[in-house]
């Protein structure tokens, strides 16, 4: 099991790095999907099959499709790659990378010092999760509904195209 974990972890990390360094948005998205799938595998082997499936269904299957959809709608393709390439020069990313590295070192230090007593892994299946979700977290679920409503209303309004303005003689009757 550990071997699978490490493989998935390496895949996830490499894919994620690829996401950040690609020039082409679609390629990056593909790598992101791979990364998500790898993370999903990790979920699965850490005893969380339900969210492993959800990760694929919702994240890879819906959210990222939205991304692709947007990319297609804007018809962005390889032509944006040239502008991007000059931004990928070392001086653009070296400082944040070093800073992140420092942060990482700190985190690693913290992790190493953390002696969480290892607990035997237990599969927490959908039933348990659902009982938790619709038991104690019922209100949170309802609130999530409101969150999605906010997202929908916001996206609807902002994404709408501007209404063409006609001369008043050309307006249809229902508008006038």
């Amino acid at each position: 099991m550990n071997i699978i974990f490490y493989i998935a972890a390496i895949v996830a990390f490499v894919a994620t790095v690829m996401v950040v360094t690609r020039k082409n948005a679609v390629h990056a998205l593909l790598y992101l999907i791979v990364s998500l799938l790898a993370v999903s595998v990790i979920f699965f082997i850490s005893g969380a099959p339900f969210v492993a499936a959800l990760e694929v269904i919702v994240y890879a299957g819906a959210i990222l499709v939205l991304f692709v959809f947007a990319i297609m709608m804007l018809n962005l393709g390889a032509n944006s790659g040239k502008e991007e390439s000059k931004l990928l020069k070392p001086n653009a990313w070296i400082t944040p990378a070093i800073l992140s590295l420092i942060l990482l070192c700190e985190l690693v230090y913290v992790f190493i010092n953390y002696d969480g007593a290892s607990v035997e892994l237990r599969v927490i299946g959908p039933q348990e999760v659902s009982q938790s979700l619709f038991g104690g977290y019922m209100l949170a679920v309802e609130l999530t509904g409101m969150l999605l409503m906010a997202g929908v209303v916001g996206a609807y309004h902002i994404g709408k195209e501007k209404k063409r303005e006609y001369h008043r003689y050309l307006q249809t009757n229902e508008n006038s």
Partner: protein, 102 residues
């Protein structure tokens, strides 16, 4: 089920999170920034699930489900904004966003 290499899992989460952070900071393409945000969210979710597994509770997974919902809502609005931006500036480069300066 065997034991989970928790430290390694956390390390992975941290790595993903920081990679996302680097992406948000360095990339100028708004799509990439949004994707990097997604990576960060995902890393946080990973950490939660690992923590839940570590503690033997379902709460970590519940949190991940909520994180998914959040990411969805955020992406919806974000992409709508990006589309408007593309309509307005015909570009997805954040450098074109320069109206607001001191």
């Amino acid at each position: 089920m065997s034991e989970l290499p928790l430290e390694a899992g956390l390390l992975l989460a941290a790595l993903l999170f920081l990679t996302g952070l680097v992406g948000v900071i360095t990339r100028r393409n708004i799509l990439f920034m949004l994707m990097s945000i997604e990576i960060m969210f995902n890393a946080a979710g990973l950490a939660f699930v690992l923590a839940g597994a570590h503690n033997g509770q379902a709460d970590g997974q519940v949190m991940l489900i909520f994180i998914l919902a959040m990411a969805a809502a955020e992406v919806a609005v974000g992409l709508a904004l990006i589309i408007q931006m593309h309509r307005k500036y015909n570009s997805v480069d954040t450098d074109v966003l320069s109206e607001l300066r001191d």
